[in-house]
Amino acid sequence: MNITDMKKEVKAVIDNCTLTHEQAMMNLSSIPLNYVEFFDTTPRFRELREAGVLCTMSEGNGTYAPRYILPDYEKLMREGCKFPRLAPPTNLWEAVTVLEIFYQHIPSVTHFPVYLGPVDKMLEPFIEDEEEARKLIRHFLIFLDRTISDSYCHMNLGPEETRAGRMIVEIQKELWENAIPSMTLLYDPDITPDDFAKLCVECALACAKPSFANHKEYSKLYTTPYGIASCYNALPIGGGAFTLSRIVLSRLAERAKDSEHLIHDLLPIAAKELCDYIEKKITFLVDETHFFKSNFLVQEGFVSLDRFTGMFGLVGMNECVNILMAKEGKSGTYGYSEEADAMAKRILDKLTACVEGYESRFCDCTGHHFSLHAQVGIADDYSISPGVRIAIGDELPLHEHLLHCSQFHPYFKSGVGDIFPFDETAKRNPDAIVDLIKGGFAQGMRYFSTYGSDADVIRITGYLVKKSDIAKLDAGIAVQQANATWGLGEVRNSRILERKVRSLE
């Protein structure tokens, strides 16, 4: 442990005028966990991590709570919660208050709740006087935006249309300046009315939410209900994910002679190292730290150990394939050549086999295996595209792009998604975007996000940020939303603002 380095890191946080007190406090809390180790890692793992091939996602070495927690909110509404002394709500005022309080007590990697639950379903039984309900929901949405300073927190809606769901979307559209919370419509065209889907598209063009999750596909994932948390992670309700680590495929490709070398030699070794690491981290979290022993969420049954999984993320498929194609003297590129896409599928087949072949002591909800995840990237990634996305600047014509997504999304159980910004022509015909989503989902696409190119709130990679906040940070002014700083990094490193804007002629 190097105390001088630590001092430097601490100083950088406490001197930083672009941080709020809350952000500084949270940044400080993570520093010591980078300087201590509680479980062994192999020399090979450390070499791969230092080279950036494997990445532990700033979790630190002393994980003491699951990364993503999806509490059972139905239980909360039904029974209340003893620890924060919340009785089951009997009217809308109480329901909103119970949620506002409960959210403050849910840990996560960012210390903010990443899953707000199926809020439309939770509030619907209490909707009586429409005018009063609108006032309260408006207050509730503003409260969330100003107290949860992080847009990884995610509200779920649908697939059924409810009065509460419609009010939430209508009011969110009016509150288009708010980046928080993120929202996803669990969308099934056979259940969700077209008119409600259209309203959701209109709202998304105004403020980048909700996104759309393929409910038909995701509802088959687990034996128990799922929710969408954090960026777009599909995880079991009453559980979540212990941890997320990732492999950076493009950096592995730089080490490979060709695709066969990567698939048969490098990938299995790197995947095994990462799986071992994830297992050790979960073992530490479960066996040694307090969460699964004493946290009220566990003790009162809002989450249970058997509904958590470990997430195995990947990024940089686009660059990985292009590097390997070039090394093999071939001209095709990812998204444009059948050969390149076939290579990507061979890599994914192999990685799936590696991950599925690894037996975990934990992860009962995913058959004692870790779950493959198309990770959206971190602010420091440079020329590394999220998950299996086609690189910004290389986007395909819209329909071909959606077909490409449809081929690659089904590999990922615990989250994958693509983003399609539209210009103002789409606002005049939001039905057209509903058609695109329906078509994509019927072809196997799992998750669709959109935003209007003229909106302030946009989706960076998986999370929402205000463009005006990024401009402020860039000018050295603090903003309330913690992950806006990641947004600034991504804008600088990943050309987010250059993403192809679709014009529907």
Partner: protein
Amino acid sequence: MKALVNRIIHTSVVDGPGNRAAIFLQGCNYTCSYCHNPETIHRCVHCGVCVPVCPTGALTMELDKVVWREEKCCKCDQCLAACPNMASAKVREYSASEVMALLKNDLPFIRGITVSGGECSLQRDFLLELFTLAKEKKLTCLMDSNGSYDYTADAELMAVCDGVMLDVKAWDDGLHRKLTGMGSRMVIDNAVKLAKAGKLEEVRTVVVPDYLDSEQTVTEITRLLSPFLETGSIRYKIIAYRPFGVRQPFRSQLRVPTADELQHLEDIARRNGFTDIVLI
């Protein structure tokens, strides 16, 4: 039966409800002064004037025909600017089944097709084939038309056409003739008969102040169609003239309407019972 196709847009939001593919056919029987794409009006006569202006060699003269190689084309449109004939060498001949094959990747994402132009009704036999094939794929089929074709006399085509988006360019026969070269009677007749048959998808009027009497056109056509609004709303698109793509000397002569002028026309349409009005 092959048609001359100027362009296919695989995802279009402005050519009818939802996401649609739009197919633009070459050739029009009108010669509107404000036409935004005059290169779609006539068919290429293979005069070869465009060949030497092409910077990439995509156009060549072969056996007295101008040949266009799409893969070499840089889409600079200098050939269109040079054409003395209001035509384009950049067109392709396709059969209906060839067009359907080109739409293969679009099928999951579109709810229908819209055929535009030029004037699509001039290639009526092709339309019949294309719409019949599109219906097999459960697509809705719309026509974007200048209204010069006698739709009611063509039951066979109307059986596979779900609706017509009709240009009502001018109410007054003389002004219509000044603008297009043909009178307005057939258009107005079509508006009523299509509305009666429930196949008037949309009415469109381009507003050119001082050149056309848009107030008269909007007033008269909305009054005429108002009885049909009871059975279903008809969209009225009131479109501001824009100089983009318009040929000279008209580009220097025509004026863009103000927002107030457009709003005034919307108010007239609204007073006559129209509710679905789009100002563009």
